[in-house]
C-alpha cells in the first residue's frame, strides 16, 4: 500500500466543445505528500481535480487514485473533497449536513456522532451545530465543507481553493489542518492562488498553464538552493565588488547596495569576513529568498493572458 502513489495521471485530457481545458496532464502525487496545484485562472486546475474525482469524464488519458481507477467506489471511501463553489444543502443544520455526508461514506451512527463533535470543534462551529446552513456566512460554509471533507479520516483530501472565503484566522486554521493531515500521513491535493499559503503547507507544487504541467518543483529546494543576497554597505569600491565573484554571480552594484546570487548559504560568513577585511562598513547582508510568486510569474508569464 505504501508504495502506491496517492494520485497518478497519464496524459489526462478534457475537451469542452472546441476548447481543450486540460491537455495531457501527467503527474504523480505520493502518499503523505501535500501537493500544490498552481496556475492562472482558467488553467484547468478545477477541471483536473474533477476528473480525478470522477465528476467529469476525461476525453482521453487515464488516472488512478490510491491504486484504483478514477471513480472507483473503494477509493472514494478514503477520499475527502471540498469543492471550489462550496454550495451545500442549505435546508439542513450543520449537524444534519455532516450526518448526511457521513452516512454517504457508510459510517455508522456512533462513530459518526463522535467524529462530528470533534470536527465541529476543530473548525470552530460547535455553537452553530443546530443552525441551518441557510443562515451561514460564506466562510462558515467553507468551514463546514472542510469538516465534511475530513469526516472519514481520508487518506487523500482534495481542497479546491479552501481559503477563498476565510478570514485570516480561518486561513491559519486551514494551514494548521493541512499540517496535521500531513503529519498523520494523509495526502493533500491543494488548489490555491494564495502562494504564501502554498509555500508553508506544500511539499511539492506543479505549475500548470493552458492545461499542461509547465513545471514541478520541490519547495524544500527553494530554501537550500541558490538564492539572492542583498548587501548594503558604505565604501564599496569597484574592486571590492568584483572580488565578490568568488562566492556568487549576477553581481549588480548600485551605489550603496550590491545584489548577487550565491550558490550556498555557507558563503555568507565568508562574504562578511571579506568585506570587513576590505574596510567596508557593512550595514546589512540580507538573503533574498526566491519567492514562489517570482517562480509563478516566471513560469506562467506575467502577461496575465488566460
Amino acid at each position: 500500500m505504501d508504495n502506491i502513489p496517492a494520485i497518478e495521471t497519464h496524459e489526462l485530457r478534457k475537451v469542452f466543445g472546441e476548447r481543450a481545458a486540460v491537455k495531457g496532464l501527467t503527474l504523480q502525487v505520493e502518499q503523505g505528500e501535500a501537493f500544490g496545484f498552481l496556475g492562472p485562472n482558467g488553467a484547468g486546475k478545477t477541471t483536473s481535480m474533477k476528473m480525478l474525482l470522477g465528476l467529469i469524464a476525461p476525453t482521453s488519458g487515464s488516472a488512478s487514485m490510491l491504486g484504483s481507477p478514477i471513480g472507483d467506489r473503494a477509493a472514494l471511501k478514503h477520499i475527502g473533497f471540498l469543492p471550489e463553489h462550496f454550495r451545500f444543502q442549505e435546508w439542513l443544520t450543520a449537524n444534519e449536513f455532516l450526518e448526511l455526508h457521513g452516512h454517504l461514506y457508510g459510517m455508522d451512527s456512533n462513530e459518526l456522532k463522535a467524529r462530528i463533535s470533534e470536527l465541529l470543534e476543530r473548525v470552530g462551529l460547535t455553537d452553530f451545530r443546530d443552525k441551518l446552513l441557510r443562515t451561514f456566512s460564506k466562510g462558515m460554509l467553507q468551514r463546514i465543507g472542510l469538516a465534511q471533507a475530513l469526516l472519514n479520516h481520508p487518506k487523500l483530501v482534495f481542497l479546491d481553493e479552501p481559503t477563498s472565503g476565510l478570514d485570516p484566522v480561518g486561513r491559519r486554521l486551514v494551514r494548521d489542518i493541512i499540517h496535521e493531515l500531513r503529519d498523520e500521513g494523509t495526502s493533500v491535493f491543494l488548489n490555491s492562488h494564495l502562494l504564501s499559503e502554498i509555500e508553508v503547507t506544500c511539499d511539492r507544487v506543479a505549475f500548470i498553464r493552458h492545461g499542461e504541467v509547465a513545471r514541478v518543483l520541490e519547495l524544500a529546494s527553494l530554501d537550500t538552493n541558490q538564492s539572492d543576497v542583498l548587501i548594503r554597505a558604505g565604501g564599496l569600491t569597484e574592486e571590492v565588488t568584483s572580488g565578490l565573484a568568488k562566492w556568487g554571480k549576477n553581481i549588480q552594484a548600485n551605489g550603496e547596495t550590491v545584489n548577487l546570487t550565491i550558490s550556498a548559504e555557507s558563503a555568507l560568513p565568508e562574504i562578511t569576513r571579506y568585506l570587513v577585511a576590505k574596510g567596508v562598513e557593512v550595514y546589512a547582508i540580507t538573503p533574498q529568498r526566491v519567492s514562489l510568486e517570482d517562480i509563478f510569474i516566471e513560469t506562467v508569464g506575467k502577461d496575465g493572458s488566460l
Binding site: 473503494a74 471511501k77 469543492p83 444543502q89
Partner: protein, 288 residues
Amino acid sequence: MNSIWTITRMTFREAIRRRIVLTGLILGLCFIIIYAIGFHFIYISFRGVESTMQNAPSQQALAHIADTEGINALLLAGLYAVTFLSIAMAALLAADTLAGEINSGTIQTIVTKPIRRSDVVIGKWLGFAFLLLLYFLLMAGGTVLSVFFQSGYAPRNLLAGMALIYFEDLLVMSISMACSSFLSALATGGVVFGLYGLAFIGGWIEQFGAMIQNSTAVKVGIVASLVMPSESLWRRAAFEMQTPLAGALNMSPFGTISVPSPLMVGYTAAYLLVTMMLAIRVFEKRDL
C-alpha cells in the same frame, strides 16, 4: 441499498424543510373543503328533486338511478381535478431535483462519496414516490370520502381506479426527473407540460374519433398516447370507476368511449421503466 435510503430520507427532509409538504397540505385541504361544500349543495338539490317524485315507486327508482349517475359524474369530475393537481405536483417536485443540484453544485459532494450515481436517482425517485402517494391519498381520499360520507356512494373498482391515477403521477414524475438529468428545471417543466398537453389533446381526438367512428382520428389519438401515455391512464381509471349505465350509454362527460386496453397499462409500465433507465444512464455519463 443504504445509500439509496439515505438519499430518500434527504429528499423527504428537503420537501419538509422547503415547505413543499406544508403548501401541498394546505392547498389540498382547501381543495377538499371547497369540493365537499360544492358537492353538498348539488347533492341537496338532487335530493330535492327525488323527494318531489316520492309517490310512484317506479319514479323513485328512476330518480335513484339519475341520482347515482349524477353523483358518479361529480365524483369523477373531482378526481379529474385531483389527477391534474397531483400531476402538477409530480412534475414540479421532480423538475428541479437533479437540474437544481447540478446547477448549484450541491451534487458534487454527494456523488464523490462511495455510492453509485444511480443510487442518487433511485433514492430521490423513491422519496418523491412516497411524497406523491401521501399527497394523492390526501386529495383523492378526501374527494372520495366527502362524497361517501354525504351520500353513501362509492364507485366500483375504486382501488383499481386510484392505483391507475397514482401510476399516472409516477409516470409524470419519472419523466420530469429524467428531463431534469440533462435540462434546466424550467425547460423540464416546459417539456413535461408540453407532453401532458399532447396526451390530453390526443385523448380527446381519440374520443371524438371513436364517437364519429373516424378511424384515422382514433389512430392519431393512439399515437399521441404512445408518445405520452398519461391521459390514457386517466381514461382507463375513469372507465373502471364509472357506473355500468354510463359505460353502456357513453354518456358521462368524464367517462370514456374509446377505452385504453390493459395492454396500454403494461406499455406505460415499460415506458416508465425505460424512462428511468435512460435518466440513470444520462446522469451517470454526464459531467457534473
